[in-house]
Amino acid sequence: MKKRRGLLFVGLVFLCISLVLAASNALAKEKYVTVLALGDYTGAVAALAAPALLGMEDGIKEINSQGGVKGVKIKMIAIDTRYDVARNISAYKKHRRDHKLIQVIMVCTGAQRALTPIMTRDKVIICPPPDGKSAAHPGWTFLWGPAYQDCFGATLEWLLKDWKAKGKSGKPKVGYLSWDNPYGKSALEGSVEYSKTLPLELLPLEFFPTGTLSHDIWLNRLAKAGADYIYVGGVDPTPTNVIRDAYKLGLTKKIQFMTDYWGPTQPVGVRQHAKELEGSITTSFYLKGTEAQKNPLASRLWTKWRKKPMDKMNGIYLVGLGMYKFLEGAMAKALDRYGYEKLDGKAMYWAYTQITGLERGGIAGPCTYSETERRGSQEVKTYRVKNRELVPITGWVKAPDCVRMHKWD
C-alpha cells in the first residue's frame, strides 16, 4: 500500500513538472515585447493620466487582438504610481529586466528626471508628457506632443489674431497663472523669449500652490494690472476652478481666459461649470470635446474595449491612442529592419526616429519625431467652450518652436 502511494506521489510530481515546462515553453514561443506604464489611476493627477493610459491600453488590446505587430504581441504592465516618485522608481527597478522591455510611459516629472539617466543606460524609450527640456536635448525621451512652451506660444499667436479681429488697438496685456511647480515653470522656457518678439505685454508671472482652494488673490492681481487675456495652467479641474473663481469675481466678462492641453475636458470641467467656462478657450495637440468623440478611431476603440457611451470618454483618452499609434508604427519599422530576435530598445530608438510624418487616424497632427526632434507633433488646435461643449475654432495650426528660443544649460 505504502509503495503504491509513493509511486503515485512520484507520478504526480512528474506530471506537475511536465505541465510547468509545457507552459513555459508555450510562453517562450510567443513573440512579445513589454511596455511599462507608470501613471496615476487613482492618485493626485489621475484626471490626466488615467484616460491617457486607458487609451494606450485599448490600443494595445486592439493590436494584440489582431495578432500583434507583424506577429509580435505587446504585454503592457500598468502600475498605479499615484504620482509618487519612490513608487515609480521601485516599479522600474522591479521590471527593468523584464522580457524585451522596450518602452516606459510615465507622467511624474520628478521620477522622469531621476530615471532618465538609468533608462538611457538601459536603452529603454521614455514617453512622458511634453516637458520641453527633453526636446532641447534629444535623447531617449520621446514626448507626447508639442512642448508646453510651444502651446503657450501658439496661444499667444491666437490671441493676437483675436485682438485684431475685435478691432482693438495697442498691445494686449497677457497674464500667466499656473501651478508653482516644474510643470508650471516649464511652459515659460522659451515662450517668454518668444513673447518679447510679439506686439503684446506679458504681465508679471503668477504661480499658486497645487491644491489651492481659492484663486482670488492671483486673479485680482492680474485684473488690477489690466490683463486682457489670462492663460491658466494646471490639470483639469484646476483650470476649471480658476475660471470658476474668475467668473465669481466678474472677470470673465472683460478678460479672455485660455488654458493648455490639460484644460477643461467635456466630461469633467465643462459639464460641472458650463456657465462659468462659457467662452473660454483651450489649446490642444489632440482632438477634444465632441470632435474627439466623433473621431472614428476613438469611437471604435472606446465602444469596443470600454463598452461605455461616447459622452463618458475623456478627450485625454486620445493622447493614449496617439502613443499606441506611435508604438505600432515604430515596432513595424524596427521589425522590418531587425526582426524579432534583435528587437530591443536600441532598435526601437532607431525606429522612433524614422516614423516622421506618421498619421494617427486624425487624432493629432502628423508625427514629427526624427533624429533631431523629440516632440511627437508640432500642430495644435484651439477650442472654445460653447453651450456645454468644446467647439473647434481653428484647424490644425503649426505651433511656434519656443523650445529652440530658450537658452538651455
Binding site: G43, A46, D84, A86, R87, N88, I89, A91, K94, G211
Partner: protein
Amino acid sequence: MNRKKVLDAVLAGLFVLTLVLGCATTGSKAPPPTLTITPAKTVLSPILIKKSPLQFSGTGFVPKEIVVIDLLLPPGVKVKGANADEREIGIATAYADEKGAFSTKMQPLATLNWFFQVDFTPKGPDFKSIKPLPPRAYTIRALGMDSDRVCTAILEFVKPPKKK
C-alpha cells in the same frame, strides 16, 4: 530519524539561512549593507506626514547609486493602487554617497498614499477617506538599483494608546 524530524531540521536550517541572508551582497566582498528606520516602532499618526516623517538610513551600497526603499506587503494586507499580485511598494528613495551610505525621509505624498491610503479630490487629499495600514510589524527593504545589494529591517506600527 522519522520524516517529521527531518522536515523540522530542514525548516530550521532554512530559517537560519534567511536570517543570515537578511542583508546580503551579491557575491562581492563588500561588507553587507545595513538599513536603519527611525523610529522603528511608532503609532501611525498624521505627525508622520510632515512634522516627523520616517527616516531611512543605511550603508554598504554602491557609491552614487539609487537605493529603493520598499514596503513588503504581508499576506492579506492590501494597499490602494497596488495590483493584486504586487507584494512590494516603493515608499522612499535615496542616492548613496561616495561611501555608499544614504539617508532619506519619507515624502508626505508617499505617507499619504501608502500608509494612509488617502483618496484625492480636485481640491487635494480627502482626509475623510483615510484607511491606515493595520498595526503590525512590516518588513522594509533597501535595494540597490544597480548593485542589487539588499537589506531588510522591521517597521512596527503599534496601536494608538487608549484615550483616558
